[in-house]
């Protein structure tokens, strides 16, 4: 099984040279730590920055420079700063190559729910609905099952949706799955120590298995 750092590390392999990438809060943020050497990847922060750098040293901390998770950050060489309207213009206009975000549920047709649990406090969707409605390519980092052991990869989402038919790929503690254009989860890779049956048991939605399932190695 993968821990959250390994999920991030596996997702980082999907990055390509020259990609502009938006990383959501949580596991997706960790992907920045595993960008392969030599790849030029520019991270977009929807609050108005292209070119997120590493977290600052104590001396570098600047209250006027934060990411969408409100963490203090630095800028890479070649960065640019802009308004939220420009930032979401970039996102809506499909200029960002890849969006990586977390999810509470994903359905077999690529619907995603990650912003609201009815009956609990509503915090708001932030930029998630804009991101999922417009991303050219979406990878979801999530747990395959919830704390009660129930699948989060479903036939249809039970929670209020964030977006429809948008997720392309999912990386969980159990493995890597595509969502097929015609619908259905398609298992591609297994985490170390995980069997196809374990994935099958943890997946409520329709699951097919690649003829060439491989084990994820680091």
């Amino acid at each position: 099984m993968l821990d959250k750092h390994q999920i991030a590390r596996r997702i980082a392999r999907e990055l390509k040279d020259g990609y502009y990438v938006n990383l959501g809060i949580g596991i997706p943020t960790l992907v920045a730590n595993y960008i392969p050497e030599g790849l030029n990847v520019v991270l977009q922060s929807e609050n108005g920055l292209l070119g997120i750098g590493p977290f600052p040293t104590e001396a570098e901390v600047d209250a006027d420079l934060i990411n969408a998770g409100k963490q203090t950050i630095t800028m890479q060489a070649g960065s640019s700063l802009f308004s939220s309207a420009e930032s979401f213009g970039m996102i809506r206009g499909e200029h960002v190559d890849l969006t990586i975000l977390g999810a509470m549920e994903v359905s077999e047709n690529g619907d995603i729910a990650n912003w609201k649990i009815p009956g609990k406090m509503v915090k708001g969707m932030g930029g998630a609905m804009d991101l999922v409605a417009s991303a050219k390519n979406i990878i979801v980092a999530m747990q395959h099952v919830n704390r009660e052991g129930k699948s989060k990869l479903l036939k249809t989402c039970s929670l209020p949706l964030t977006g429809v038919r948008c997720v392309r790929k999912i990386v969980t503690e159990l493995g890597v799955l595509d969502i097929l254009p015609e619908g259905g989860f398609h298992l591609l890779e297994l985490a170390p120590g995980v069997t196809v049956d374990m994935v099958r048991n943890a997946t409520e939605g329709k699951l097919t298995v690649s003829d060439a399932v491989t084990e994820i190695t680091f």
């Binding site: 609050n47 006027d64 930032s87 708001g124 969707m125 609905m129 804009d130 409605a133």
Partner: protein, 227 residues
């Protein structure tokens, strides 16, 4: 140019619709919020991406019950907010962040409505007109305007031109344009002609009142340090 925050907000009436710039606590109009607290104006509708934290930003105005409605994209950092919302004292309208930014931009730019894909197929789409365009479905969203926009910039000049620092730009430029009266507070106010015209983020035409603020706290929500 006005003398300070108290003069700047003096005519904001009870029941006004306000826009307040900032993302989280970054780039918020600290001085104007303090002046609104002092003035005690009530029944405010606040359009702002976030609602501050319990003891800073818009959170302070929630504590004093000056706000009856928030229009935001994310409000998850505030316990008093939660209490008032659950008790029905406070109304909240949640809008996807990009739609919020664009609706405010549309308000300033004289565009009453536009199409966006954000929220299609979700509860955000309920009751909204949809349109198909090139095989994709979009929602028709309308402009947002405010009686007063309160924005915060780094530098400003006496012609009302504004320059923001870092990611403190966020919602401030669109709000400056979407306020009937826009009140800008700046860390440094310089004479007209001191700023490079090609580096202005908000042209002075959008700003009706400007003052140099003081005692900026610039609180940090998530101080994250590299080892």
């Amino acid at each position: 140019m006005v003398k300070g925050p108290d003069v700047a907000v003096a005519d904001i009436p009870d029941g006004a619709v306000l826009m307040l710039g900032g993302f989280g606590l970054c780039g918020i109009p600290e001085n104007s919020i303090t002046a609104l607290l002092k003035k005690g104006v009530r029944n405010l509708t606040c359009i702002s991406n976030n609602a501050g934290v319990d003891d800073f930003g818009i959170g302070l105005m929630l504590k004093t019950r000056q706000v009856i409605k928030m229009i935001s994209s994310y409000v998850g950092e505030n316990q008093e907010f939660e209490r008032q919302l659950l008790s029905g004292e406070l109304a909240v309208e949640l809008i996807p962040q990009g739609t919020l930014a664009e609706r405010i931009r549309a308000g300033g730019a004289g565009i009453p409505a536009f199409l966006t894909p954000a929220g299609v197929g979700t509860e955000v789409a309920e009751g909204k007109e949809t349109r198909d365009f090139g095989g994709k479905t979009y929602l028709l969203e309308s402009w947002l305007k405010a009686d007063f926009a309160l924005v915060k910039a780094w530098k400003g000049d006496t012609a009302g031109n504004l320059i923001y620092k870092g990611t403190a730009q966020n919602f401030n430029p669109m709000m400056a344009a979407a306020g009937k009266i826009t009140i800008a507070e700046v860390e440094e106010l310089v004479p007209a002609g001191s700023l490079d015209p090609s580096q202005i983020h908000t042209p002075g035409i959008y700003v009706q009142r400007i003052f140099q603020g003081s005692d900026y706290q610039k609180r940090i929500e998530q101080r994250t340090i590299r080892p």
